[in-house]
Subunit: 856 residues, 2 copies
Amino acid sequence: MQNMLTPPGFTEITPTSAIDVDRHGGRAKCLQRLIRLDMPVPRTVALDFNTVHDISLGQLPDIERLLSVFGPDPLLSVRPSSLDPDWGGPSAILNIGMNDAAHARLTESHGEDAANALYLRFIRAYGVHVSRLDPDEFELTGSPDAEAVAKALAHFHEETDESFPQDIATQLSEVLRAMARAWEGTTARLLREARGAPTDAGLGLVVQQMALGVGKGLSGSGVVQFVSGTTGEREIRGRYLCKSQGRDALNANGDVMYLSRDERGRSIEEVLPDCYADLMRYGDLTRNRLREEMQIEFTIENSQLHILDAVRVPRSPRANLIIAVALARDAIISEEEAVMRVPPRSLSEMLHSQVDPEGPRDVIVSGIAASPGAATGKIVFSSRAAQALAAQDEACILVRRETTPEDIRGMHAAKAVLTERGGITSHAAVIARGLGLPCVVGANEMKLDSKAKTLRTADGRVLTEGDVITIDGSAGEALMGAAEMQEPDLGDEFQTLLHWADRARDIGVRANADTPADAQKARTFLAEGIGLCRTEHMFFDRERLLAMREMIFADKSEDRRAALDRILPMQRADFAQLFRIMQGQPVTIRLFDPPLHEFLPQGHEGMAELAEALDLNVGAVTRRVEALSEFNPMLGMRGVRLGITVPEIYDMQARAIFEATLDSSEEGGKPVVPEVMIPLVSAKREVEIVKARIDAVAAAVKAERGRDFDYRLGVMVETPRAALRAGEIAQHAAFLSFGTNDLTQMTYGLSRDDAGRFMGRYVQQGVYAEDPFHTLDVDGVGELLEIGAERGRRGNSDVVLGICGEHGGNPESIAFCRDAGFDYVSCSPYRVPVARLAAAHLAIASRGKGRPRVTR
Amino acid sequence: MQNMLTPPGFTEITPTSAIDVDRHGGRAKCLQRLIRLDMPVPRTVALDFNTVHDISLGQLPDIERLLSVFGPDPLLSVRPSSLDPDWGGPSAILNIGMNDAAHARLTESHGEDAANALYLRFIRAYGVHVSRLDPDEFELTGSPDAEAVAKALAHFHEETDESFPQDIATQLSEVLRAMARAWEGTTARLLREARGAPTDAGLGLVVQQMALGVGKGLSGSGVVQFVSGTTGEREIRGRYLCKSQGRDALNANGDVMYLSRDERGRSIEEVLPDCYADLMRYGDLTRNRLREEMQIEFTIENSQLHILDAVRVPRSPRANLIIAVALARDAIISEEEAVMRVPPRSLSEMLHSQVDPEGPRDVIVSGIAASPGAATGKIVFSSRAAQALAAQDEACILVRRETTPEDIRGMHAAKAVLTERGGITSHAAVIARGLGLPCVVGANEMKLDSKAKTLRTADGRVLTEGDVITIDGSAGEALMGAAEMQEPDLGDEFQTLLHWADRARDIGVRANADTPADAQKARTFLAEGIGLCRTEHMFFDRERLLAMREMIFADKSEDRRAALDRILPMQRADFAQLFRIMQGQPVTIRLFDPPLHEFLPQGHEGMAELAEALDLNVGAVTRRVEALSEFNPMLGMRGVRLGITVPEIYDMQARAIFEATLDSSEEGGKPVVPEVMIPLVSAKREVEIVKARIDAVAAAVKAERGRDFDYRLGVMVETPRAALRAGEIAQHAAFLSFGTNDLTQMTYGLSRDDAGRFMGRYVQQGVYAEDPFHTLDVDGVGELLEIGAERGRRGNSDVVLGICGEHGGNPESIAFCRDAGFDYVSCSPYRVPVARLAAAHLAIASRGKGRPRVTR
């Protein structure tokens, strides 16, 4: 009666039974597909998510009825079947049904060794996974003789105060219950949530008739796949172990057999050619019909092939990309599906050298993984030393307490950066990501003595300048010596996939690029222009720095102008070079932003030098330096505030930009339409004042050169007030580019340079769900972006909206910006591929739904 | 025909003619009132605003027709009549109609001297105000003989190439045109706008028949009022000058006559008793019927009294208040009208000592007027020196480059503060306003040498410690020596007026008070509780500071707790004292807010001392101090971030608050409901975590003492994010108090400590309409207040909303907060009276319209 009213909760998998991946999980569905392809899959029953959840609550399905599917005295396996195999699940349990009687039967049919081995194996699995006994007590050493079985049964009795269960229904019930409960445990839940599973993800289970693999002769089990999980190249790889079960062959060292003749030793191809031929055929079938590279688990018993299971081939990010492209090229999947099969973030790892994960690691200090990739070089403690070594073509690693803008040239010269202080968005981290330099910050266990030029590691070793270390920016570690490396090779497939992605994408992707090298990278990664070119680094060249300092010390406008005039030709050349590289693509140049004191020396020695260079007395220099120092430089006299109070700087920069625009087009390049961006705006009037001066400079350059050119003037929205007042600001701006770094700092009242000290604990305790400098804070900063975008567009329906903070390359941020109707995102060159792919994912995923774009 | 279609634009003032203050101005209306009171006002015609505006554009009314009102050959005066007399206007011009013929007639009727005097006077006025000739050329020296008249006429001809006009219609036309155009000039417009006039404010004119005052005997003119413009006390004050016109008597030195016998010399009361009696009667009439203390301008010609004009008695803020209260007490005006007659800001000046404006001023340096009032004392250059002098009861002035929290005790000890750096919201300025200390900041023309302990003034004088100076915080100046002072005397009327204000007010006013002295002041000024009690100053006492430092250097929670346990009893006593003073009124205590590095010494010497005190080596101390230093302390590890990462501090403070609550009620005081406020919140979870700990401390204290008490836990909204997320934050908060200082900093991305360097220029250039730290930025910060209030109330309909930034005491901010539905404002004790009065103004002004309060 009950069976007629409620479904039994389990379903035998047949070609036509109702198996649904959303109810029974991926493994159950995959097994049904194998069955439909006529593969010899042993009889299998699937338990759905609800049933397993009920089991975890103590309510079992009709076990006797379930057992009846398999005929009398079966031996069974139970395996997990969640929606996504990556979410993990309890270990498979084999040989359910082994008891004294089965042992006797098996001794007869397969011999005593085989019977003992299976019984011992099951007692151990049951003891550990069901009765939660200590696994160490069950180590299966020695020969699987009768004594070992007796000992195991006695141990089980001793520990549990119960005899080992002999009834198969009891065994199966307890196994199902244990697996169902394991899924509900906190650790398992956290683990799978970390892998992207929803909180209420369900577990299905598959109960399968055992194919024993312990029979006579060549009986055994193995695993085969048709592609390399490391390179993604097509090749037959497999292992087989006689008298084994499940995946034993993968872990065995000794008597393992290989699949094909091409592999090292004795092969199935030679000894069991029929089985081999079937496996090859099954490989083709799975690839073409399951549309995926599968790893097939099989058992051969008495020359009879059984296919027990198939899973996606575990693979490196790189292999995943190559497999996806190959499947699409073979027309097995569509190009869009190939795009969707490559997680955007997985590209990052392919763009950088990596420390060989197999190589030895001598970690000298750990910190925050601030910029991925790895590099080896000699330790230097100053930018000057870095430049000196770079001049001799020696690789070096810049090690600093923290970096300042004065270290930019040192960072350019170094192969990697290690800092004692700072967080994921500290100066060192931001610049390193921009440069694509491996970087570890906040390595606060090391002690730097910059005078003595020593680095004391966490474990007390003392390194000095010139010692070789390796920075693993992906792992956030510094390693002693030159670690073994894996070099990146982007290859044809990489470009092909991104090319397919670009076809689908509907939001622009630009790069943040300050230098010709950055710009070149931006081109390589097919960025659609430069969304943020910071100009301050252009003032740190020795000659320019002196002119800057003269400018700072000048009291009269003419003198400031004269000092800046010396920088003008150099800056013009900088811009012309950028324009040439970008070949007519948009280049957004942010006008000078940092506080002037960043250009002044700090120590007494530096001030004395400067005094001499400027022919002033040291007291005057010291006073000026002190007068310019600020309590909170982030919130001080910088950006447009400087542009308004010392207008000569912007005048010079505007002239350099416009003259470079003409120069580069005269050289026959594509015409450039430079975008001039005003930083740190908080009021409309600031834009009006700067715009009037910039327009005047443009008019003057046009008149002097007798030639016309276009340019756009826009505003960097990075204060909360600029976002709130975007409506009126946009009336004077051709574009609004949202600087989410500063906007996050000001919205939270949180300096990214100082947040490192507690951000870790804050995220750990869940005070902030994520580091807002790492993942865009949708609730707070995001609302300001939405307000700014909406009001900006209302104030000026033609305004172009972009985002140029560090968040620009994050897939989540791109989704947010796309929803808010932004025209483009801009990010570090190395994140451009990630952004292009992420944007394509969003566009494809919302296909049909259409882009939720603000009507313009 | 034309006259029938368009009104003539002028109206003779009669008791019943249509004179309207909104069209003809205050003077015209006042004259009509005098006429209605049967005073002998000469025939008068009023020109309305439109007519005068048309005149300025060249379109004159029918002058002949206007003249016809006055009969043949009149002599006339023209005076300005704007809506509000305070808005200024062109000078009156008398004796229009004087020409050769009139001169001849007057010579006959009044004698040659009188005729010459009037003619000369008119030629000069006409030349200067109509023909714009140099006033110096017309100095009326020497006797007014025929030669002088001839010379004046010749000078006029020479300068203008035209004869002096003889036709009265021409004279009047030109005078009207000149006065109309003067009103439209830029300077006049800026001047009156600065006094609160709208951009389109109109000018009316009154044309009046002259009462000459140059007749025989005692003929002349004078001015009388019945109240002191300085003290507001009732007394007859008047001056009269024979053979004079207009207000000559006020400026004359010699032969002036007084009004009443009680005054110094010969009096009108004696020599013209009938006129005197009439004037006394007119005084009573104006006071009772015009409901104001008026100054009456009169002329006596041949014993005949003429009333020419009456204006509000010019008065000091203090006199204004006393007059308003007296009028209300005499039931001439209502109490509410008295309240409305006192501008809120005018109270500030009454609360502080002032430098006597008549006394000599030797200014040594100018800066920003950061906190009003004046004080004299000896210069000290350190807080230590300030405390030392205070201990000897010697008044001292603390002079610093800038102040830091370590200077708090020095500021408490000093009588006034002078700093070289900082703006209106620098540390020195904020604290000084809170303490009611006169303060000048940003006096960057002086040079401080704190080592040599000298102050070099702008003009090169060098002062040393112990030299006496006076700080005039109202003028923003430091004066040499002990300047002459005027002491404040609030008096009974002050309290009476505020009592009336409180009856009308519908938004609460609390005080920001950190110390018992502040709290006492808050009580004196009838604040309704403390809206912000900052607790950091409580840690700067020598003994506590050492415990704080021990806490900072402790590595384990127990050690931190042990160090803080030593501060607990002192802090408990602090709070108990505050609660006793506030007698059951709400006290909002902000938990510890500043970064820890503020509690560490700065120089090498200080570190060495600290190392000895803590028994550590200097290197370890230096390293810890360096490790705690921050790039942007404002955006760093402070407020709730400290509360979460070093929770022992808030635990101790909560315990101190709750134990003090019980202690003070055990002493028989009114029960206190302390309000505990969490600073720098940016995420809901911060509130949840702190709330859980505070609630636990409360439960523990209740259990230990076996007694119950109430408390409220609230949040200081001072990050943009907290305002945006106020909805969810309010769910865990009994109140939200908006800290507009920090909110302004973060909304603009602008540090108040650093803004001083360019704020002046920014406001001058109109980049910001106002300094946003001084006047609430309604467009940006204001929108966040509105968003926060609205969402907070939606999230928790019982939440109490307050504002506790420096803006809290500004009338404009109070208006804004009232409109946004806030429950109270909190401000420095010295601004409480201003706030109470401003709030009353708003409530009365919106009476009928009702308070635009958000529905709860």
